[in-house]
């Protein structure tokens, strides 16, 4: 209940995403449509009256006017679809932008698993399209057309108006009785269908494994059986769920029938009470023509319930993802407002000072509580300790991927709190366990490290980082394509590329998060010798989380991190 008060309902959240012009445009179009419907019914009734009652030729003007009204109605329909498509497209692009910004804010540690991000970025946001492109326009039509038409019917015959007025509120009553309970269950059924889809996808992914265990026929049988089970369960739910739209259909049909019979009896003179005695053919036809139009938007809306249900389900997931950014990514405005010193600071190495550091992973007891650490400029410190004890977390805090709950991290006496990515990037180089190569050439991948670098600088760093030793053997050299669809590099080669990229721009603080954890001894030796060469050429302060003996040979100090116990150890 607490969340209900702080978070708007999915419907409100969805409406809040729509561009400002959408609502007035949809209101305007629905209003125009309602007037056209009234005009259409009026013209038809008048034409019938002239031809059949007055028995005079119908002329040209009235038929032409009717044709105009009809074609305008078709046009309104097209315009409505067109602008709704535009709004939906715009909203989905903006949401994707927001998701990426939230992920940047969350950082690599707190970002959800790739599968979930892909599902949200792709499938969930796609589910909003039917909502904005179909459901929302229908909603406005359903809100505006019936009242306008009702007024028109009342103006002609209040008894017929009462038929319509009373059958419409009955619809929500019955939909509450039958529909909404069923709708919740039908939504669960949609969920179940989605889960079964995931289950099936999982079996496809494991096709090779299933083959190894000769599980083809058993899995085929399971696919058939599970889908059949779901079909049975679904049909039981749908029998009830479809009743809600059937109720609507029923009232719509019965109201039309009642109006027709009432008007017919009135015209025949069987009814003498109220306005029935004064009914004319034109008035009767007018009322009859408006009756189905009165129910049509409501029926369309009830058919689109799954568009809304799907979108509602997607909202939960998207809201969770968008809420992940603890510190919103700085906007260009913020950056402009702050004096940003992204120039490389001198001296070339920087001192690190940690005071009163307090940090807890989400939903866990504090990992660090009041720790301190001093690293002198140019010092190389290894962080060791059991896995899960906080080595990598400390590196992530220093890199700005995580934010301390309390305490200070200072670089050369300046607190890093609130720094932008650009400010950090000017001072701190970071290397993780598994480097990522982006689609492009080796050169592109290294040059990613510093926009201003020229070819000579890239080649120099590639030489130092040991990239050239294998790049020379490739026909295209540094211009060889890597990443997806490119040359396949070994783990050690990829890590050397990442090293070159991270140190292309001289940075006074280097953070290493187990950079050789996934390498074989040869790869590890290559990376460490590259690192040694680079540090000789570009002195810097180094903090390295590692338990590998190869790494420990290169450091001045060893600090053991075990939760909130940080202790100095002698260098082995």
């Amino acid at each position: 209940m607490a969340t209900a008060t702080t978070e708007p309902a999915p419907g409100a959240w969805l409406a809040g995403r729509a561009p400002g012009w959408l609502r007035p445009a949809l209101v305007g179009l629905a209003t125009i449509e309602s007037l056209l419907v009234v005009g259409q019914a009026g013209l038809i009734a008048w034409l019938c009256h002239r031809a059949l009652v007055a028995e005079v030729p119908i002329g040209l003007a009235a038929p032409a006017a009717l044709l105009g009204v009809l074609l305008l109605r078709a046009t309104v329909l097209g315009v409505r679809g067109w602008i709704a498509a535009d709004a939906s497209a715009r909203i989905r692009v903006e949401l994707r932008q927001a998701v990426l910004a939230a992920l940047r804010g969350a950082g690599p540690v707190d970002a959800p698993p790739t599968g979930r991000v892909l599902a949200a970025f792709d499938e969930q946001i796609e589910k909003l399209d039917p909502y904005y492109a179909r459901f929302l326009p229908q909603q406005f039509a359903a809100a505006i057309l019936p009242p306008v038409l009702l007024v028109a019917v009342f103006a002609v015959d209040w008894i017929a108006g009462l038929f319509l007025l009373f059958s419409a509120p009955l619809i929500p009553v019955f939909m509450v009785l039958i529909g909404w309970g069923a709708e919740a269950r039908a939504r669960q059924q949609v969920d179940a269908l989605g889960r079964l889809g995931g289950w099936f996808l999982d079996r496809l992914r494991g096709a090779a494994t299933l083959r190894r265990f000769a599980a083809e026929s058993a899995t085929s049988a399971a696919v058939a059986q599970r889908t059949e089970e779901l079909r049975r369960a679904s049909m039981n739910v749908l029998k009830l769920a479809f009743l809600s739209s059937a109720v609507l259909e029923f009232f719509a049909s019965v109201a039309i029938a009642a109006v027709a019979i009432y008007v017919g009896m009135g015209l025949l003179g069987f009814l003498t009470f109220g306005p029935a005695g004064e009914l004319t053919l034109a008035g009767g036809l007018f009322v009859l023509l408006l009756a189905p139009e009165y129910f049509a938007p409501l029926r369309a809306l009830s058919q689109g319930w799954h568009d809304r249900a799907d979108a509602g389900a997607a909202v939960g997931e998207l809201r969770d993802l968008l809420g992940r950014a603890k510190t919103p990514a700085p906007t260009p405005m913020d950056r402009a407002a702050r004096p940003v010193s992204t120039a490389v600071p001198s001296p070339p190495a920087i001192a690190v000072r940690i005071r009163g550091l307090r940090f807890a992973h989400r939903g866990r007891p504090p990992l660090f509580d009041g720790q301190m650490l001093d690293v002198a400029a140019g010092e190389r410190v290894a962080l060791v300790g059991p896995s899960g004890a906080g080595k990598s977390t400390l590196i992530d805090l220093l890199a700005g991927f995580l934010h301390p709950e309390a305490g200070r991290i200072e670089l050369d006496g300046e607190s890093t709190e609130g720094w932008s990515d650009a400010e950090r990037a000017a001072r701190i180089a970071w290397l993780g366990q598994r480097p990522t190569l982006f689609a492009g050439s080796l050169y592109d991948n290294i040059a990613l490290g510093w926009r201003e670098a020229d070819r000579d600088a890239v080649e120099a760093i590639a030489e130092l980082a040991g990239v050239m030793t294998f790049a020379r053997r490739l026909p295209e050299g540094l211009d060889a394509p890597v990443g997806e669809n490119g040359h396949r590099l070994s783990g050690g080669q990829m890590q050397r590329v990442a090293l070159a990229r991270a140190l292309l721009r001289p940075r006074p603080l280097i953070l290493l998060d187990e950079p050789t954890a996934h390498l074989d001894p040869q790869g590890e030796a290559d990376v460490l010798s590259s690192l040694e060469r680079l540090l000789a050429a570009r002195p810097a302060t180094v903090l390295a989380a590692s338990h590998r003996p190869g790494m420990l040979r290169h450091v001045d100090r060893v600090v053991r991190i075990d939760g909130d116990r940080w202790t100095e150890e002698s260098v082995a």
Partner: protein, 561 residues
């Protein structure tokens, strides 16, 4: 472009329900139009009686028709939706089975590529699209076309001079819809391709997020992703706009046909060639058709995408013949209830390369394992150990050389038989979203509960399993209990141990396990591997206990250490 029709089954219960849905759709539109037309007729006739133009009419028969069609329309619509959904869900089952069995016939090397790629996502979406064809394309079109034909019959019967209006509507609407499909098809194709690229770029961006943030390039790179997403959304918007134009067009055609019948009918009535009430009724028939046609454009845009979806599914290759896989499980299960005895396995001068560019990974590997012998092969990661293991396990055909099982060519056997003889522990553990028990039973469907408990104890997971809220029935994977990498590896090892393969290839069996756990697992699995021939591949100098021989894979050849 007949793909969807070939893929969607129409036989048996599916066909019966689809047919029922189609008939009810026709009945529904027929009754809806009847309700409107008879109501119009009644009002007009009553109006003319009131004015003395017509003699007294019978109000009870039309009244009954009106009430009957009002109720009948509701029932028909309700029945149509139920029957349609039933048929749709049956088709979904069939489409999934079909796709699964197509994949099952792929060569293993082709299967390798699909786990990471987006082919499977696309495949499941294609199936979802095809599944909608019945409710979104078939039924609306049957209602619209059938309704138009009924209307044409009524017009030709009662006012032959106006024949051109309903028939003209039918033909021009179909032409418009076919054009819609043609216009939206290229955008549909682009959608699929762009989506695949976007997904893979987003994956890379996420993988590299730490580096991108630390280099201050995350924002710039995400702009690129947004630009690509925008192009994708533009293609969709194009389809939606085409759909909107189609709706406007089809409504205009429907209204035009209505207008022609109304004006034409009233002129005939003024001339005395047609009864007034009949003229109004026919006009209302045409007006009722507009709604039926308006449901069709969305279906035709979908149809364009479905044709491509069907092409892609068919490109997966042949589907399996009925019963094709039935024999496989039987041979595996009957592979001997006694504990597997070791067999001899030999590789003779095996050569293998992944492609001309990357050179040979294995350059003449000779290896002979005596029955029950345990051999450990070390080597740097990426040096070809896994490839060697996959060849020894009968998955990859060597380019040169032979693999012999008890002296006979292993590749002379069918695939399932090769796998039955040599089991392999994959390097990256692959478990399924299912219960713990179901995951284990993949290794031995008939295993007793005691045997399952024993194998879990062997890989040191017994206490972990006892601690789970539902024990063996606990669901693994998404929405279930999460597993660490080490636990997943041990479970896949347990699954393999349940088979009775006389030769086991273990690829990095202890990777990711800490020292004490690795020791317990080594001791625990001993009773399960005793007597079997073992080929262990590991890049650490570290492998299951009593190893008889250690070899090293260097530059594609084996060396003794």
């Amino acid at each position: 472009m007949n793909g969807p029709r070939r893929l969607l089954p129409w036989s048996g219960a599916t066909g019966r329900y689809a047919l029922l849905a189609a008939l009810l759709a026709l009945l529904g539109i027929g009754l809806a139009v009847t309700l409107l037309a008879v109501s119009g007729w009644l009002i007009t006739a009553a109006g003319l009686v009131g004015l003395g133009v017509l003699a007294m009419i019978d109000i009870f028969a039309p009244g009954a028709v009106i009430r009957g069609s009002a109720v009948g329309r509701t029932v028909a619509r309700y029945g149509e939706r139920l029957a349609g959904h039933d048929a749709m869900l049956r088709q979904l089952a069939s489409l999934r089975l079909d796709a699964f069995q197509r994949l099952m016939r792929w060569p293993v090397r082709r299967l390798d590529g699909i786990v990471s790629g987006d082919l499977l996502t696309r495949l499941t979406r294609d199936i979802d699209a095809l599944e909608l064809l019945l409710p979104r394309w078939w039924l609306p079109n049957i209602a619209a076309i059938g309704g138009s034909l009924l209307a044409a019959a009524a017009v030709v019967l009662l006012a032959p001079a106006l024949w051109f209006a309903p028939l003209g509507l039918l033909l021009s609407a179909l032409a418009l819809l076919a054009a819609l499909r043609r216009i939206s098809a290229p955008a549909g194709r682009r959608l699929v391709e762009d989506n695949a690229v976007l997904r893979s770029e987003l994956t890379t961006w996420l993988d590299g997020l730490g580096e991108l943030i630390s280099l201050d390039r995350a924002a710039e790179r995400s702009e690129r992703l947004v630009a690509r997403a925008r192009r994708l959304v533009d293609a969709q918007r194009h389809q939606r706009r085409v759909e909107a134009l189609g709706q406007a067009g089809i409504a205009a055609l429907g209204y035009l046909a209505f207008w022609l019948v109304l004006i034409g009918g009233l002129r005939l009535a003024v001339e005395g060639a047609l009864a007034g009430p009949v003229a109004v009724a026919l006009a209302l028939v045409m007006l009722g058709l507009v709604e039926a046609w308006q449901a069709t454009p969305a279906g035709w845009v979908l149809r364009a995408n479905c044709a491509q979806a069907a092409d892609r599914i068919e490109a997966l290759g042949e589907t399996a013949n009925p019963g094709e896989f039935d024999g496989l499980a039987a041979t595996t299960a009957s592979g001997g209830s006694a504990m597997a005895r070791g067999a001899a396995l030999a590789l003779d001068r095996v050569r293998f390369g992944w492609g001309p560019a990357s050179g040979d990974v294995l350059r003449g590997v000779d290896l002979a394992l005596a029955p029950g012998e345990r051999v450990l092969i070390e080597g740097v990661s990426g040096g070809g150990k896994t490839t060697l293991g996959r060849i020894a396990a009968g998955e990859l055909v060597p380019e040169r050389g032979r693999v012999r099982f008890n002296g006979e060519d292993l590749f002379g056997e069918v695939e399932a038989e090769r796998y039955r003889r040599v089991g392999r522990l994959e390097q990256s553990p692959r478990l399924f979203r299912d219960t713990l028990e179901a995951n284990l039973r993949i290794g031995d469907p008939e295993a007793s509960r005691a045997r399952l408990d024993a194998v879990l104890a062997a890989v040191d997971l017994a206490s972990w399993c006892d601690g789970l809220s539902h024990g063996m029935a606990t669901w693994l994977g998404e929405r279930g209990v999460g597993l660490s990498g080490g636990q997943a590896r041990r479970l896949t090892l347990a699954r393999l141990l349940l088979t009775r393969s006389p030769v086991l290839v273990l690829d990095e069996p202890l990777a990711g396990l800490d020292g004490p756990t690795a020791k317990r697992v080594m001791a625990g699995i001993e009773p399960w591997i005793v007597g079997r021939t073992l080929l262990v591949l590991s890049h650490d100098r570290f492998g299951p206990g009593s190893i008889d021989r250690r070899l090293r894979l260097v530059d594609g050849r084996l060396e003794t250490t």
